[in-house]
Amino acid sequence: MPTTAPAFSDATASDSALRRFLHGLPGVDAVGLEARAASLGTRSIKTTAKAYAIDLAISMIDLTTLEGADTPGKVRALAAKAVHPDPTDRTTPRTAAVCVYPDMAATAVAALAGSGVKVASVATAFPAGRAALDVKLADVRDAVAAGADEIDMVIDRGAFLSGRYLKVYEEILAVKAQCARADGTDARLKVIFETGELSTYDNIRRASWLGMLAGADFIKTSTGKVATNATPANTLLMLEAVRDFRAQTGVQIGVKPAGGIRTSKDAVKFLVLVNETAGEDWLDNHWFRFGASSLLNDLLMQRQKLSTGRYSGPDYVTVD
């Protein structure tokens, strides 16, 4: 299996080997993990560090619209916002990507052409993932063919929770194969665990390793469609996983918390988690993303406050 890191090729040799490997990972103590995340949340980020963090956070946003009501017009408006988040201040960085459903990928690609802002498409029967494998793979193929730079897939939580880890693993491999383009390049693959459905931190750690072994380019917390999405604790846990994976394999994997991150204060806390857990190598939108929509405007208001000294208001940022 070429995409599995060589150090762990034995782990994925069979369903039982994979189970042994995943269940042999160190456990997670929930209280300790949450206490550590909360303690990093008390870091006080001010002045220059705050300005840096806000711009970094803006540049890490996967500006997202994943609604049944999405239209080409809505997607184009979002794309415009991604390219020029603050029309009054051209020094504002662009967001990392625009994230849409597969049928909107082509629209987004056209709208963002030449901007450097990536197009991410969810796929694999997002968000539930409850469809036949062929359907899921076709979903991915369509999105890649439409020019999506990145694919945000969901894992089969049912299979994971019933212990069929190899099924989950092989499905990720299959999706990864569909990310290949004719020119030999690949769309980057983000693997969404839906941490709120995995329920326990032990499961999130196992899912993280499973995803990384299967060749995920990013591991992502959630779809944004369930009650509990990204939290400081589950993101910290996934940052520990990518840190440990790189230490053991040399392969760096990105992390994307998604859903529920709405304020600048929250975003800065997540950046502190990145800084102090995985380290500064991840402080780059190639390795860390925020899956968010309303977060951008709050970051822009904070940015305006820092540059003007006045508190801004919602009428001074654009609603798209």
Partner: protein, 318 residues
């Protein structure tokens, strides 16, 4: 029975590590009854006997403290059963030692047997009474449990050679401590005979070790002994008690001071040790309700924390 028959004397021996040695020093001293009549030659223990007793008590501590409370309770009860069968012997020894009438001595022995029963019942209850869950303000399970302190040196009361003796030994071992007991210097025979009872009561060797001799000679090395965890000074007079308490500070032994009135006259009776246990003249009344203070004096409280946290993050669906 012929009146002419010459009786068989008993050689009184120490009780150490479940065995009955003589003092390694080879010394004995004369024990008389309250009227001065010779009763026996008791072993006069030395520093080395004291040291051997500590070794035996330490060796026994792991097993005894690790035994179930139910098991310890049954063994203490077994002591009462064995004593009941040898009541006559103890009535005679107590009457001789304390100058009591046969009926008064019998009452003392009865009370002593009942005291074993009282403490036998405490072994599996004291943990519930003095331990428990603590409602900490955080996601933690937090439980305090009493544990035995370790090896306890017990200076048995000088006057009450049997009821007092039992009243100081039983609470020490009920909770899982092991004991090195210094018998009443003038009246050691009931204590030495108690050793014979303990040896036949399923009590593991070394849990109780009984030494006779000069109290200060035996107690002084025990008070400073670094492998003794606590000392009960009940049988010490004020001067000896102070001296031993100072020596006990070397390794911060837990010290149970003698039950005498406290010093501050202006605080009056209120400040004395629990009045039920002390007569107006300051001597101990061993027939009073013993309460729990002799149990708790040789207990440590261990508090264990563990995170609880939530079962998992909430996992609602679409």
């Amino acid at each position: 029975m012929s009146d002419n028959r010459l009786s068989v004397f008993k050689t009184y021996k120490l009780y150490v590590g479940g065995k009955f040695p003589r003092s390694e020093s080879g010394r004995v001293y004369e024990v008389t009854d309250s009227k001065g009549k010779w009763l026996a030659n008791a072993p006069q223990s030395s520093r080395k006997d004291a040291r051997d007793a500590v070794v035996a008590a330490r060796k026994a501590f792991g097993g005894w403290s690790g035994a179930t409370a139910y098991n310890r309770g049954q063994i203490l009860y077994r002591v009462a059963e064995m004593l009941e069968g040898r009541k006559d012997q103890f009535v005679r020894e107590v009457a001789d030692a304390e100058g009591l009438s046969k009926s008064k001595a019998a009452a003392v022995v009865d009370a002593a047997i009942d005291r074993w029963v009282w403490y036998a019942g405490w072994t599996d209850k004291i943990g519930q009474v003095v331990g428990g869950a603590n409602p900490v303000a955080g996601p933690f399970f937090n439980l305090s449990t009493p544990e035995p302190t370790g090896v306890v040196t017990v200076l048995a009361p000088q006057e009450s050679s049997f009821l007092g003796l039992v009243s100081v030994i039983a609470p020490v071992i009920a909770t899982g401590n092991t004991a090195v007991v210094i018998a009443s210097a003038d009246s050691p025979l009931p204590a030495l005979s108690l050793g014979e009872v303990l040896a036949t009561s399923d009590l593991p060797g070394g849990v109780v070790n009984i030494l006779s001799g000069k109290t200060s000679e035996i107690a002084t090395p025990l008070a400073s002994h670094q492998d003794v965890n606590a000392i009960d000074l009940t049988g010490a007079d004020a001067a000896l008690a102070k001296e031993l308490e100072i020596a006990a500070a070397d390794n911060l032994k837990r010290v149970l001071r003698p039950p005498v009135s406290r010093h501050h006259p202006e605080k009056g009776a209120q400040s004395a040790a629990p009045s039920s246990a002390v007569d107006s003249d300051g001597t101990a009344d061993w027939t009073a309700d013993p309460g729990t203070h002799r149990l708790t004096a040789f207990l440590e409280t261990k508090t264990v924390w563990h995170p609880t946290g939530a079962l998992g993050v909430s996992g609602s669906s679409y």
